[in-house]
Symmetry: C2
Subunit: 319 residues, 2 copies
């Protein structure tokens, strides 16, 4: 910038004015500066600019479980879209359900002075996130602190799915889920139980299988379930990984079974898979919205938003 000033025969401040389109510069002067900038290929350093006036350079941080999971990549897309509309850039990092890694990533983002942090929390305790820093929790609530949070209606959605299966005559309904330590899984399992209870069906613990972290594990679990002496006649799968694993298992299964899953997924329509849909786009959009509201000065008490779910019958749950 100094070089530009020298070349244009003006002061540093004048160059700064031109760059930021500030008022009070003679067109002639501005012209000379603009030329010098072009000739020197000058490019303002946003990092330095943000250093000066406190506000970190228009950046949001997003800590997510796994960018490659379509549910979370949709969340990331939504957050990025909102950020982009406000001229913000987004740093995305994957924690992979690892609490240590999550902490490191959060620390790194905070050190980089992101203006706000959106996080799908994996760790057991979030007091380390200074309440002063703008953090919005997505998909799962924080532990140990109060903060803005956007959740899905996990319990209600799961209940709807299971009630749907019950309405179609099923009483032996299995529940196939990821790690029961996850908030979303606990809620969805509660929804499953509520539906059974409401219908007066006793829960058979051998039909509840948790801890399936990926498609392969879910497939194995469902295969096992279907080969029980008294196999379930219907399955409730608690997330997209488990639903897809179940579909694989069902393809090779001796008998048919009804299926209703939590989370919509691409090709679910083609496969005729009944699901409860919770829009990941909305999750990200609302999360980013809360973050920007804070940046805009909202300092009310922490808010929690819940995204509703919607049952989408496509055949697999109606047999």
């Amino acid at each position: 910038m100094r070089d530009v000033a020298e070349r244009a025969g003006v002061s540093l401040k004048t160059v700064s004015r031109v760059i930021n389109a500030e008022a009070g510069v003679t067109p002639a002067t501005a012209e000379r500066v603009t030329e010098a900038i072009a000739e020197l290929g000058f490019e303002r350093n946003d990092l330095a600019a943000s250093l000066r006036h406190g506000r970190s350079s228009h950046t949001l941080g997003l800590v997510i479980e796994d960018v490659a999971n379509p549910f979370y990549s949709a969340v990331a897309q939504a957050v990025e879209a909102v950020a982009r509309d406000r001229g913000f850039l987004l740093i995305t990092a994957s924690a992979r359900e690892d609490a240590v890694r999550e902490r490191e990533l959060v620390a790194a983002l905070l050190r980089r002075r992101v203006d706000a942090l959106l996080i799908v929390p994996a760790g057991p305790d979030h007091r380390y996130i200074a309440s002063s820093s703008r953090a919005v929790f997505l998909d799962r609530p924080p532990h140990g602190i109060e903060a803005d949070t956007v959740l899905l209606d996990d319990l209600g959605g799961a209940r709807d799915a299971v009630e749907h299966l019950i309405a179609h005559g099923h009483t032996r309904i299995a529940c196939v889920a990821d790690d029961a330590g996850l908030y979303t899984m606990r809620e969805r399992i509660s929804g499953y139980r509520e539906a059974l209870k409401k219908a007066g069906i006793d829960e058979d613990p051998s039909l509840v299988v948790t801890g399936n972290r990926d498609v392969a594990a879910a497939q194995a679990a469902v295969t096992r379930l279907l080969s029980l002496p008294r196999p379930p006649t219907a399955l409730f799968t608690a997330n997209n990984r488990n639903t897809i694993g179940a579909l694989h298992a069902l393809r090779d299964a001796p008998g048919p079974a009804a299926l209703a899953g939590f989370d919509d997924f691409e090709l679910a329509d083609l496969l005729g898979t009944t699901v409860v849909r919770a829009d990941p786009w909305k999750l990200g959009e609302q999360g980013a919205g809360l973050a920007f509201a804070r940046l805009d000065g909202d300092d009310g008490p922490p808010r929690t938003v819940t995204i509703p779910t919607e049952l989408v019958p496509r055949g697999s749950g109606e047999r």
Copy 2:
């Protein structure tokens, strides 16, 4: 940091030493400083640190078409994983096949002094990317400049797919693709033509449909193709969007048609869809590798790496 120094009764520099674990500080002094840091909840400002010594704060920039497309989200995941191994953070931005937007995003990332830029280029001209800046092009080559590039074997993969269909007796093979202006599409269409030519089959221009940007457009295109007076007996779909659109169209089609698609996708195995697979993870991994090689001092001429493809027969292409 000044506050910490004051509280610990030491100088700024000593605090700096402790923070960076530099040698030459008495344990006792270090202890006092550490305490002061904890009490004040001090957190080093990485932006300021990077400003001082030139090197931008360990950040990579990634400009991609669309984070929500599973192919690109896998690329992003790979880049992030490599970056993370080196202690780098990743800023990801979606250009949505918009050249103007792409330029803005690149400029914003450069202003933020990312150490390297990985980009899936959409624009027609990339001379605006200073050759001095470390840029690696992914999936498509740059225009107007020389730079490190990682491509897929688009032509070879497409040829393999079409030859596979030909080997199964097909001669009326349609080609269903995205915008023909895209490098990958041009290459894949060339591969399609090469295979036809090699087999002595005359191309029927009415069987080549391009410009299908999303699943719905691809579905409509295939539906139209299948209702031609002399419909194709086989389809080559040039990317994952088009393959999925074709699957939708085929479900409702009067007669069957063989199908081989470019890009693998989740559930392709379940659906028995024959594809040519090009690993997006490798694309990102190699791209990040090239970028870091440059950061490590490699200043040889620009390199181009090509990721091989692999035909995965699953039934849809063998009938």
